[in-house]
């Protein structure tokens, strides 16, 4: 009996901790190159929401700075990219980004693709799906890639009656109506980029190699997001 229990618990422990690669295994090129400065390209918008591109662009500086990287100033970069006819990141996502390194002195270029940016009022949900790709301006290699999908759905009550369920749904619909999609996008950034290896200005720079890298596709559901 004792042997069985120990064996089962050991397997559970190993499976719960060792099934996913660590950051060094998942993103070895970022540890080799140690990029610092990042040019954040305007997002590639695959949705019908015309506001998504500019709204989402405003969310990307903080997560990279908090991870110890130096994003190039986003407002200035946006206007320069527009003046250089480089506002449409689609044109560069699959090509060489070395010229960005030569022109702007950045170590890497971030491309983001907004696959979903939806507020569903009837089912009281907000769904955001973003792909993040960090490319080296020295080698054109992909240093980091992750797809994050976050569904915001307010908590349902515990009502059993039809009236109670109707009230719960009405409250949820109001909650979703008052929640901006950009709040969910920020939460998606935080969750998806949490496993990005730490940059030069982080206290954990090069000390996070053994930390879990998570799955390449992040998919989660949350019942609350903050406005910040």
């Amino acid at each position: 009996m004792k042997k069985i229990i120990i064996t089962v618990l050991t397997i559970v422990t190993i499976c719960s901790c060792a099934s996913l690669p660590n950051r060094k295994e998942a993103y070895p090129k970022i540890y080799d190159e140690k990029p610092v400065s990042i040019l954040i390209m305007p997002p590639i918008n695959r949705t019908i929401d015309v506001e998504a591109k500019d709204a989402f662009y405003s969310t990307l500086t903080i997560p990279f700075a908090q991870k110890g990287y130096i994003p190039l100033p986003p407002m200035l970069a946006m206007d320069i990219l527009k003046s250089e006819s480089a506002y449409d990141a689609e044109m560069f996502a699959n090509g060489s980004v070395k010229k960005f390194g030569e022109l702007f002195g950045c170590d890497a270029v971030l491309f983001t693709t907004i696959n979903r940016y939806q507020k569903k009022k009837i089912s009281a949900k907000i769904i955001v799906e973003i792909e993040y790709t960090l490319k080296s301006t020295k080698t054109d290699e992909i240093l980091f890639n992750r797809i994050g999908k976050l569904v915001y759905q307010p908590k349902s009550g515990n009502s059993n009656s039809l009236i109670g369920l109707a009230i719960d749904h009405a409250v949820n619909m109001l909650d979703v109506a008052l929640t901006k999609k950009v709040f969910v996008a920020r939460a998606c950034n935080s969750a998806s980029l949490d496993v990005l290896p730490e940059g030069k200005y982080s206290s954990l720079f090069l000390q996070d190699t053994a930390m879990e890298a998570g799955k390449n596709k992040f998919d989660a559901s949350v019942s609350s997001v903050t406005g910040m």
């Binding site: 120990i6 903080i62 100033p73 986003p74 206007d79 002195g105 982080s202």
Partner: protein, 117 residues
Amino acid sequence: MKKTQFIIMVLVIMTGVVITSCVTFKGNKNAYAWGDYNNATYSYMRLSDSTNTNYLSNVYTKLISLERVPPTVCADYGYLLLKANKQTEGKALLLKEEELYPESKVFIDKFLNTLQK
């Protein structure tokens, strides 16, 4: 040792192992304070009218007075001031960004050079 006691002991030990090996997370101690930056930039990106420009300027003003100024803030505030024809203050802030974060120097110098042409 009774069987129940043994099982409880094993469970406690294994739980401890799982928690310490998987859940411990030390965050970046050098993270910055951003105040209302997120909301101010979002509003400005959506509509760059005088209300949102003032809102963003106020946020930048608070951030540049911090002991640890977050990256991009001096440069973007300087750029905003240049657009408002405040050349001296604007350039000074762009140069301060270079001083704080030299990784932005090539980019900012390129922009400053275009102004002189």
